[in-house]
């Protein structure tokens, strides 16, 4: 079945996620959709699968325009999707998950025909060499196995177009190879496969055609014979790099020392952070680069104490931070700008003034002997709002009504209001407009110049290049290397996308 997307456009408010995207996928081919995080790939697929309504453009199957009101329609038309975040019920068995929604029943009581479901699972499983036990409980399966269950689920509905959304993000190298083999088999059996990914090695290994998306637009198509460097540069772009006016850093003594830090996911028991060690000196900015999901978030959170590390030590100016309360660590001089500002950064229903003192409310001069002084709080708010150019109607406005950029400024203002030894900022300019980005960058440099050790976590290469004095690239929970910002983008892109790392691992 031939799939075509014509001029698909999708907006969320003022943000254009997909901008006039064209895509053609012939049956029996693997079409890779390549792009960074936030490029718009997943949105596009959600539109195709009927989870979103497109604002413009059309979908054609076998040259016929189709409209999907929901996933049910899409599935009935033969489109199957393996989501990045699995849509599997953890407490059901494989067979139950596969049959959900189109169950076969038997007998007068219309009970589930589990045997038929098991048969179906086994049949598809054998066809592709999956080795999946239909009666296994999904939550007990490895991530790779769960993914295979998702594929079986799609195939059991006779999918003729199969969309795989970042399938290898959660797989080990061996599992990745197995998956690529499966994709090949699917292609050979006539299925049209759309592979959404940012991993260059896989794209080159399996794709027949490659479309590169960046910032919601198609920026080019390529053949798998293109070099990794070419692909990487298409993907990350040759934007005019954001230049920030900054003097050279004059780093002082080592301020932050991280040794062998390890964080483990409780449920899957996978090492999210694997023996990470590095040092940051006062007055320098270390940018932690890498594609999201490689352990950067956990690194930032483990230093503060938001997540518990199982091993390792973190010292700030000589004081051991591990095992202490978040409060104590903040008091030791850490400023923390969390990655998810709405969830962890601000209380949306609090006023701007109150969010500005969220971790200061019980210190002088904001409060004395347990009583908050509203006058001091509001004067502080006026000052900060002015200093940080927070666009708000008043300091008593609800923080939730501010734009993302302004909310981030509130968080920043709050953290920078204290005397800091270490500033940790995770994705500090995500979702911000250009003006706010500039502002935030300037303030971060200012902190550095005061002698504060700064750790920035960012998946935006532009930002990394603009701010960093040193860059640590993370991949699979480890630091691949710490390099200088003179490193060229292509090398950087390769390190981030696993090419460099994979070669090392394969060795």
């Amino acid at each position: 079945m031939k799939l075509e997307l014509r001029k698909i456009t999708k907006k969320f408010g003022d943000f254009t996620a997909n901008d006039q995207i064209d895509l053609v996928v012939e049956s029996g081919t693997v079409h890779a959709l390549l792009g960074e995080n936030g490029a718009g790939k997943s949105t596009l697929m959600n539109v195709l699968f009927g989870l979103y309504d497109a604002d413009g453009g059309e979908i054609l199957l076998d040259d016929e325009t189709r409209v999907f009101a929901g996933p049910g329609d899409a599935m009935a038309a033969g489109i199957g999707m393996v989501h990045q975040h699995f849509m599997l019920v953890p407490v059901f068995t494989v067979a139950e998950n596969v049959m959900l929604g189109h169950e076969q029943v038997r007998g007068p009581a219309k009970l589930l025909d589990l045997e038929a479901a098991r048969e179906k699972v086994r049949e598809i499983s054998d066809r592709f060499g999956f080795h999946v036990d239909p009666d296994a409980m999904v939550e007990d399966l490895s991530v790779g196995a769960q993914q295979r269950v998702e594929i079986i689920k799609a195939l059991s509905r006779d999918a003729r177009v199969l969309i795989l959304d970042e399938p290898t993000a959660v797989l080990t190298p061996q599992e990745t190879d197995e998956l690529l083999e499966i994709v090949g088999q699917l292609r050979d059996s006539g299925t049209a496969v759309v592979l959404i990914t940012h991993k260059l090695r896989e794209v080159k290994a399996i794709a027949d055609t490659i479309t590169v998306i960046r910032r919601g637009k198609v920026v080019g198509t390529a053949e798998p014979t293109a070099s990794q460097e070419e692909l990487a540069s298409l993907m990350v772009g040759r934007d005019v790099s954001m230049t920030v006016d900054k003097d050279d850093a004059t780093p002082g003594e080592p301020m932050l020392r991280v040794e062998n830090l390890t964080v483990i996911d409780e449920d899957t028991r996978i090492k999210l952070l694997d023996g990470v060690s590095f040092e940051v000196r006062g007055g320098e900015i270390l940018a932690v680069a890498g594609v999201q999901g490689n352990g950067q978030t956990e690194l930032a959170e483990a230093i503060l104490g938001v997540v518990d590390a199982v091993e390792g030590s973190v010292t700030l100016d000589g004081t051991e931070l591990m095992g202490r309360s978040i409060r104590d660590n903040l008091d030791a001089g850490i400023g923390f700008v969390p990655e998810d500002r709405t969830e962890d950064g601000v209380v949306a229903s609090f006023t701007v003034a109150n969010n500005l003192i969220l971790d200061l409310y019980d210190r002088e001069p904001y409060s004395k002997r347990g009583a908050i002084d509203p006058g001091v709080v509001s004067r502080n708010a006026e000052e900060q709002v002015e200093k940080f150019d927070v666009r708000t109607t008043s300091t008593e406005a609800l923080t939730g009504s501010l734009s993302g950029g302004n909310q981030q400024k509130v968080v920043l203002a709050r953290e920078l209001a204290r005397d800091l030894k270490l500033l940790i900022a995770s994705q500090p300019t995500r979702g911000l407009d250009v003006g706010s980005i500039e502002f935030v960058h300037k303030r971060i440099i200012e902190e550095r110049d005061k002698g504060v050790a700064v750790v920035i976590v960012s998946s935006e290469l532009d930002e990394v290049y603009a701010l960093a004095d040193r860059i640590a690239v993370m991949y699979h929970g480890r630091i691949v290397d710490i390099v200088s910002p003179d490193t060229d983008r292509d090398t950087m892109g390769l390190m981030m996308a696993g090419a460099h790392g994979d070669e090392e691992e394969a060795a």
Binding site: G13, D14, F15, L304, V306, S325, I326, R327, N329, L330, D331, F336, P338, T342, E343, D344, G345, V346, V347, A348, S349, F350, T351, N354, L358, D359, Y361, D362, S367, G370, A371, I372, P374, R391, T392, T393, S394, E396, A397, L398, T399, G400, S401, L402, S403, G404, G405, Q407, G431, D433
Partner: protein
């Protein structure tokens, strides 16, 4: 029910998380904050262009009023339906419809006037004190509701569903009553110690679910409901002990609390209103200060609104939960002081009555804010006070009051429902009282 399993770090996953059952405010989810709209006009410039009328129509105060109206209307329907005369006249409706309407009018008129003269002013009384007595009764009935409603309100704002006011009240009343009749302290001190006893009893009963939630993640809704019944049985048993019974009697009723431990009357012996009412108002002020001005209250509100951000900002969420439950329990215990040290002056198994559950409706109607709670308590206190008069004058059981109460709260909980009934416009974005 969602019982948290993750042991010590009783962090709630967001609903579903099983964060499910503890939103900050047990009302409808407010419209999502327009976080990513750059150049948001915001409240001020918006209201410049809106007319005052529009603002009134969109206000949540109007919703509250209309909810009350709707509930009274439905209550009226019930009254009419239950009235013997109306049903009799209805059997021959088609031959003499006027009779039915007459009977309906009589029934409704009788009911509403009984409510008024039972709760507000009684114009049939002989003297001035008789005329205003109903209102004083309303305030008297409101007293325990204020206390308990305040406690529940704190809990709700901190994201905790404390359904245990009934049990906390009872245990508080028990301890306070015991101090009142078993100890004999001089005037002034005795009352104080008894009041403290009430608060202490409630605090202990509130500590248990708070502690369990902090340590084991046990969901406070279930624990508090269970503790209500445990308290009931515990007190029932205590009342079989000699220490709690009157001399020479086997009845499950305590001796009368010493005079030195009773709340003095506020307006003289013609009225039942006692100083507990003043204490309740003082507590309301105190709770206001706690929640709006104190660092502790700031923590409570932050934890209730967004436990993740609170934690990232260094607040100790589990400690907050325990403290909230202790304070809420103490306030509920103080509610128990109203019957045992104020109106009844004895303890029986019926002392708590339905106060605990009424307090929930008071807190919900009052939006968990002290001022709202006081007003809601007065409203519901009035409904309760009108009970005897409804019975005597209009022949209606006091249960109609509970029906109206529950209906009001149901309507309040679903503003869109009220709006659609009365064709009120929905606001552009729901304004929450700023924390």
């Amino acid at each position: 029910m969602s019982g948290e399993e993750k042991g010590g770090a009783a962090e709630e996953r967001t609903p579903n998380e099983p964060e499910a059952a503890s939103p900050a405010d047990p009302e409808t989810a407010p419209e999502p904050p327009r976080a990513d709209a750059p150049g948001d006009p915001g409240a001020d410039s918006g209201s410049r262009s809106r007319t005052v009328l529009r603002e009134i129509l969109e206000s949540s105060t109007l919703v509250v009023i209309m909810a009350i109206v709707a509930s009274l209307a439905i209550g009226g329907l019930l009254i009419v339906f239950a009235d013997e005369d109306v049903r009799e006249a209805a059997t021959y409706f088609f031959s003499r419809p006027a009779d039915t309407f007459q009977a309906m009018g009589d029934a409704l008129g009788g009911a509403y006037s009984a409510m008024f003269s039972g709760a507000v002013l009684n114009f049939n009384a002989n003297d001035f004190s008789g005329v205003i007595k109903p209102f004083t009764q309303t305030l008297t009935q409101a007293t325990p509701l204020i206390f308990a409603g305040l406690g529940l309100g704190i809990g709700f704002r901190a994201g905790l569903f404390n359904i245990g006011a009934q049990g906390q009240l009872l245990i508080g009343a028990t301890l306070g009553a015991y101090v009142g009749f078993a100890w004999h302290l001089p005037w002034g001190i005795h009352l104080l110690v008894a009041i403290v006893g009430c608060a202490l009893g409630g605090a202990i009963w509130g500590f248990i679910p708070g502690f369990l939630k902090a340590r084991t993640g046990a969901h406070e809704v279930i624990v508090t409901i269970m503790l209500n019944y445990i308290a009931l049985n515990l007190v029932a048993w205590l009342l079989t002990l000699d220490a709690f019974q009157r001399e020479g009697s086997d009845n499950p009723i305590t001796p009368i609390v010493d005079e030195t431990a009773q709340y003095p009357l506020l307006l003289g012996s013609d009225f039942n209103l006692h100083w507990g009412f003043v204490l309740a108002l003082a507590c309301a002020a105190g709770v206001w200060w706690l929640m709006e001005r104190s660092t502790l209250g700031f923590e409570f509100r932050a934890v209730g609104a967004n436990p993740h951000a609170a934690r990232t900002a260094g607040m100790n969420v589990t400690k907050a939960y325990i403290l909230v439950m202790v304070i809420a329990g103490a306030l509920a215990g103080l509610a128990g002081s109203a019957p045992v040290l104020g109106t009844e002056k004895v303890l029986t198994t019926a002392t708590a009555g339905s106060l605990g559950f009424d307090a929930i409706t008071v807190a919900l109607l009052g939006r968990s804010r002290p001022l709202g709670t006081v007003m809601a308590a007065i409203l519901f206190g009035g409904l309760r006070a009108s009970g005897p008069t409804l019975q005597v004058q209009a022949g209606l059981p006091v249960d109609i009051v509970f029906v109206i109460q529950a209906l009001i709260v149901l309507f309040i909980a679903a503003p869109p429902l009220v709006r659609s009934i009365f064709r009120l416009p929905a606001p552009a974005h729901e304004k929450e009282v700023a924390a």
